[in-house]
């Protein structure tokens, strides 16, 4: 396979995906973010400060843990990238801190964010508390119910959480509300988007901040195994933990990159969040990508047991990688995700987030076409503390 071209282009395009489909009011703000981000990328002081926070505050590098009993069971060499051990419990903090530092550079004092599972909201609330920024997080009321512990964590961190009652009351509606806030308060507010999606430069910027996952994992697996992995596996909602893991491996042509979408509880429109298996080209929330929509271009509700994967579109770089055949995507059902929680908890003593559990739950299927003793890196993008009550409810257990 030839080298993967550098994307996005100056217009924020990953092939036909990406771009900036936003109201005119936001164009100057996006231009400003592009300029500030470009400057920050080449500013040693910014990079040093980010590195200092990631090591001394977040706890990076996160370990690459050999899943010994799971490896025996699956007859493969399974390595877990432990983003669950990041401060705040998920990879989201990598990006939230990067963008919060950028907010200071932009001279803005207020931050807004959307959140689905609440992990990005908690990460942003944390970064804002650390850096003295005012923070408001939008969250669908259905997600607030499912992820109640995270709602209170954000409040403890001094963040205002605003419930969104419109539309499907989940992540996409929270994004709409955050965009409305940004259109209104754009002069003093930075919008910290939590996944590798939305208008340019967010898909690129979030990918870059999350690529620390893949850079570490690549070096760690080389050291531990003396070779690159046969496959990297990650769950894909918007796709930030997956692109963060995949990106440093893109030009390692022999490494299979496997994203796992939320298969929900059926294959009908509205029963899942598998954009590559039921979605089609569209423009949604500032970008073009695959979108779960009806024949009239209306974006439909999605379903997943995990709030963090319950989203109607997917980051544009994933769409591009999928079309090129460089990454492959499959789905894990709600039931497989729950099985994934048990598999990791009972064999390795790690309770993964329901999102990450999608990547665990399909491992038995994924390894079926890998050779015996194949090396597999799985991103445990978050820990499951936030999901304990919801898992109990789903399994009919009264706490």
């Amino acid at each position: 396979m030839s080298a993967i071209p550098v994307v996005p282009d100056a217009a924020g395009r990953f092939g036909r995906y990406g771009g900036r489909y936003v109201p005119e009011t936001l164009i100057p703000a996006l231009d400003q973010v592009v300029a500030a981000y470009r400057a920050a990328q080449t500013d040693p002081a910014f990079q040093a400060e980010l590195h200092r926070l990631l090591t001394r505050y977040v706890g990076r590098p996160t370990p690459l843990t050999k899943a010994t009993r799971l490896s025996q069971r699956l007859k493969r060499r399974i390595w877990l990238k432990r983003e669950d051990l990041c401060h705040t419990g998920a990879h989201k903090i990598n990006n939230a801190l990067g963008q919060a530092l950028l907010t200071l550079r932009l001279g803005k004092k207020r931050v807004i964010a959307e959140t689905g599972a609440g992990q990005h909201g908690v990460a942003t609330a944390t970064a804002c508390a650390l850096l003295g920024l005012q923070c408001r997080v939008y969250m669908g009321v259905e997600d607030m119910r499912r992820q109640a512990p995270n709602v209170f964590r954000m409040k403890l961190l001094g963040t205002e959480v605003v419930g969104v009652e419109s539309g499907t009351k989940t992540l996409k509606d929270a994004v709409n509300e955050a965009l409305r806030d940004w259109v209104t308060n754009v002069t003093d507010t930075h919008y910290i988007i939590g996944s590798a999606l939305g208008p340019h430069p967010y898909p690129m910027m979030v990918r870059d901040f999350q690529s620390v996952i893949g850079r570490e994992a690549r070096a760690q697996v080389l050291e531990a195994e003396g070779r690159l992995p046969h496959a990297c596996v990650a769950c894909v909602g918007g796709g930030s933990n997956a692109i963060g893991l995949f990106h440093p491996f893109l030009n390692d042509a022999d490494v299979r990159l496997i994203g796992v979408e939320a298969g929900g509880n059926g294959s009908g429109l509205g029963q899942h969040a598998a954009r590559f298996d039921g979605g089609s080209f569209g423009v949604f929330q500032g970008m073009s990508s695959y979108v779960l929509q009806n024949a009239d271009g209306q974006v439909v509700g999605t379903h997943s047991v995990s709030a963090g994967l319950d989203y109607a579109s997917i980051g544009p770089e994933h769409a591009w990688l999928r079309d090129r055949g460089r990454a492959e995507y499959r789905r894990a059902s709600d039931a497989q995700a729950l099985a994934g929680v048990h598999l990791l908890a009972e064999n390795e003593g790690i309770i993964p987030a329901l999102e990450s559990a999608h990547a665990i739950g399909v491992l038995p299927e994924i390894v079926a076409d890998l050779p015996d003793d194949a090396v597999v890196v799985v991103n445990v993008s978050g820990r499951g503390d936030k999901d304990v009550a919801e898992i109990a409810r789903l399994e009919g257990v009264k706490l």
Partner: protein
Amino acid sequence: MTPAPAANRIARRFAELATQKKKAFIAYICAGDPSLDATVELVVGMAAQGVDIIELGIPYSDPMADGPANQAASERALAAGATVRGVIDAVRRIRARSDVPILVYAYMNPLLAYGIERFAADAVAAGIDGVLPLDLPPEEQPELRVALAQAGLAVVCLVAPTTTPARRTYLAEQSRGFLYYVCRLGVTGERTALPDDLAAQVATLKAVAICPVCIGFGISTPEQAADAARHGDGAIVGSHLVRLIERHGRDRDLVDIVSRRAGELAAAVHAVGGA
């Protein structure tokens, strides 16, 4: 970009208003709220009361530039079964009874799902005069604007208070039909007062615009509409009328109530007099 044909009803209406020394009043409603049949009657009724140009919103599931009033209207219209095809058909029915210029206010995804070239052709055939794309800056996939324009639709650009001077000039050059000045930061919706910098902002736009400059976002009373029209070439009122439709959607006199209010707004704007 190809210019909209001279025959375009929007350009003709501005030319007529100029000879009468009048400013334009533009009314927005969401197509399909409470039904497409009602939309036909509302447009015909408002035109009869002196509304110069109609903006018809194509309902969309995720209208991120709109405030709660327009968002709720979109949800009602979708629940009542409105589709892009249905909106085009409604305009065809309006055309049998009224020559009022009509542009559609649209988010891109429903148009892309319909097929942009097919939409452009069907829209022009039905009598739609222009498109106001909310989430399509001109540099984004310019071929989409070209497809709309080549079919004969006037593609309107929006300018915001945050728009830089260089970009204002660029947008003014790109816009056809009129140039839409979004007079405040934020989403659509009613506000109590017009912004202080309105006169200065519009003056900078008029200096570079090649088509009329109309002002919208947050205008709800006849006084505000007149004030906005004094600075620009026209005033746009949306959420205020949408809220009336929300309140009276099931009343038998819905069309009378909305048309009368639109008529009051139009009269206030027309009383301002042309430049």
